[in-house]
């Protein structure tokens, strides 16, 4: 299957490091991504209280990189495990392409699953870990030994660990282990790649590197990929689309810029970025805070009692009508200028606003509002 690729790669390596190898492996690993669809998934764990998933429906395009984003307990991991077949839903259906896989056992779904804590087989070498899936195939479909070796070596190249084949998982760093776990999942040529908080157990720098690297791998393999995260930066940076979950329901699905610029709910607004929230009222074509008009209401905004949500970068120190009063809590220099932590009158939490002047804690300021969103109060 790979005849011709290895020698070329070796001979070209000196002049053009790594590139030909990657191109060749990409060609080998690229496959038509499968679409995934879940329809009305309900999952309850024993006991009273809300269900882990309350009728979740979601469609993932072939080759798409989708993030399931939400706070802990939102049901995002449960949804991923339902798609993998590791949890059996109490209701609803799962489709891979046009095939109904709801009742298909996990072994036959053809998914690659990457666990937060790697779940590498500690008594097997890196090589044997990656080969595990191939060796698990029924005898008739099992590749020959030299074919297994070729494929494992290619995957080790792909995850940039070609020299570690003989090591044991215990001898690797966290980042290396997660790479091996990904290679192991890719070895079975899954139709869907599922990652459960893949970078959650790693420190910040490694996480950043691996993020970029996962994006590259996805570009090379073109695999339908779903990953779970509670880190909005990770989701915004990596994903083609983001599905935001809260309390077992999907709040919004959309491209990063959509969920950021057009949040569908107050929850999404406050989850994908820092937000200052004030109680306000929409009446007579304007938004009023404590009876004073702040900005003009846009057409289509709800009338009556609302939550006024503001991004810190839409706020500037200003004067005159339409400004919001607040108190400086703290002022400090950062690498990019000076910021003041300001608690707006009536807000629950302070926001960090860029300022040009020097302030003392306790100073009163007024902030002009550049843009805002309102959500009906509930």
């Amino acid at each position: 299957m790979t005849a011709g690729f290895a020698p070329t790669a070796l001979s070209l390596r000196r002049e053009a490091p790594a590139r030909p190898v990657e191109a060749a492996s990409a060609e080998r690993l690229r496959q038509a991504g499968t679409s995934v669809r879940v329809d009305g998934i309900v999952k309850r764990y024993g006991g009273p209280g809300p269900a882990a998933l309350e009728g979740v429906s979601l469609a993932i395009e072939p080759g798409e990189l989708l993030a399931l984003l939400g706070p802990s307990g939102s049901g995002k991991t449960t949804l991923l495990r339902v798609i993998a077949g590791l949890e059996i839903p109490d209701g609803g259906k799962v489709f891979f392409g046009s095939q109904d896989t709801t009742d298909l056992p996990v072994q036959r779904r053809g998914v690659g699953f990457v666990f937060q804590h790697y779940a590498l087989f500690r008594h097997l070498t890196v090589f044997e870990n990656i080969a595990y899936g191939l060796r698990s195939r029924p005898r008739a479909h099992r590749p020959k030994e030299d074919e297994i070796r070729r494929r494992v070596e290619r995957l080790l190249e792909l995850v940039q660990l070609p020299d570690l084949a003989k090591r044991y998982p215990g001898q690797l760093s966290g980042g290396q282990r997660q790479r091996v776990a990904l290679a192991r999942a890719l070895a079975v040529e899954p139709s869907v790649l599922l990652l459960d908080e893949p970078f959650g157990a790693l420190d910040a720098q490694v996480r950043k590197d691996l993020r970029r690297w996962l994006r590259e791998i996805h570009r090379e393999t073109g695999q339908t990929t779903i990953f779970v995260t509670h880190d909005q930066d990770e989701a915004l940076e990596l994903a083609d689309r983001i599905a935001i979950l809260n309390k077992g329901r999907i709040e919004q699905v959309g491209a990063p810029h959509e969920v950021q610029d057009h949040p569908a709910s107050r929850f999404v607004m406050s989850f994908v970025g820092e937000t200052a929230r004030l109680t306000a009222e929409v009446a007579g074509g304007e938004v009023r805070v404590a009876g004073r008009p702040v900005i003009a209401a846009e057409p289509g905004w709800p009338q009556g009692a609302v939550d006024l949500c503001l991004r810190p970068w839409d706020l500037t120190v200003g004067q005159g009508p339409g400004t919001l009063p607040g108190t400086v809590r703290e002022w400090r220099r950062t690498g990019r200028g000076t910021v003041a932590e300001i608690l707006l009158d009536g807000a629950e939490a302070p926001v960090e606003v860029k300022v040009t002047d020097v302030y003392e804690p306790g100073d009163r300021v007024a902030l002009a509002v550049g843009a805002a969103r309102v959500f009906p109060r509930n």
Binding site: Q107, F113, F115, A119, S136, G170
Partner: protein, 294 residues
């Protein structure tokens, strides 16, 4: 993990160490007390066993083992262990696998039941089998009619031994398996492995050292069990006498050299077990239950 890290004693912060240390005389006093206790109650008896066994010279010591009854007792003890230990490995693996990897009704009851043999007196354990399989017991008449001998025969001894040694393997495995969780197994399943392959290539290797440890303890107890076996055995010389029973009989006949000779064999077994156990703890500390991360 096990391949890289050498088990080491964590250095204590100096201040804490000083604050926790007793005055010198107290330290020496406590150490001496502990050593004296250990010597008096553990080392001295062990030494006595070997001294008594060799008191009439090496030749009479060796003659003990040429005696047909002694040989029969040794053979029977080995036979019982060879049957009981594998049985309890299978039972222990099944029970701990079910308890650690699955959540089901009656799980806690099962955990309690596994400990039952530890809390019941071995004599009672033996009596249970007499009451069930004995001539006057529940199945007695049925067994007699079909000519099946359980009590005062080898099957009874095996049953009693299996009962008494039941918890050793399971208790060693349950905490480790619970600690390891199920993600390794889940990973293997997503890679397409059949449940049997998952058990064989993931679950079993993950607990292999703990399993060996459990087998060692189980074996030592299976060979050394006295109470339960003595009730069901009937002590027929050359037929249903295990080593511990034979020791008692010889002792009661004032045949000290022979009694201590057989006893020295049992003591030797204990020492070998202890050495094996220490080796496992030293070499595979992190792969055994409740001993650090892995």
């Amino acid at each position: 993990m096990s391949e890289t890290t050498v088990p080491s004693i964590r250095p204590e912060p100096r201040g804490l160490h000083a604050a926790l240390t007793e005055p010198r005389p107290v330290r020496i006093g406590l150490t001496l007390l502990a050593v004296a206790f250990l010597g008096l109650f553990l080392l001295l008896p062990l030494a006595v066993v070997f001294v008594e066994a060799l008191s009439k010279g090496l030749s009479s010591y060796l003659a003990t083992f040429a005696e047909p009854d002694a040989l029969a007792a040794i053979r029977l003890t080995l036979l019982v262990a060879v049957i009981a230990v594998p049985l309890n490995v299978v039972f222990g693996l099944c029970a701990s696998w079910a308890i650690a990897k699955f959540d089901f009704r009656g799980r806690n009851l099962l955990i309690t039941l596994i400990d039952l043999p530890f809390s019941v007196s071995p004599v009672v354990a033996g009596l249970i089998y007499v009451l069930i399989f004995g001539a006057q017991g529940l199945f007695g008449p049925f067994l007699q009619r079909h000519g099946i001998e359980i009590i005062f025969a080898v099957p009874g001894i095996v049953l009693a031994t299996v009962f008494v040694t039941f918890p050793f393997v399971a208790r060693e495995l349950i905490p480790l398996m619970q600690d390891q969780g199920t993600t390794d197994e889940e990973a293997a399943l997503t890679l397409g492995a059949s449940p049997w392959r998952v058990f064989r290539t993931v679950t079993l290797p993950n607990v292999r050292w703990a399993l060996l440890y459990g087998v060692l303890l189980c074996n030592a107890r299976a060979m050394g069990e006295f109470g339960a076996v003595s009730v069901v055995s009937g002590r027929i010389r050359g037929l249903t006498n295990t080593m511990p029973l034979h020791v008692e009989i010889l002792y009661n006949e004032y045949n000290y050299v022979a009694a201590f000779g057989i006893a020295s064999l049992l003591a030797l077994l204990a020492l070998v077990t202890l050495a094996g156990k220490s080796f496992l703890e030293w070499r595979h500390a992190d792969a055994l239950a409740g001993r650090g991360a892995h």
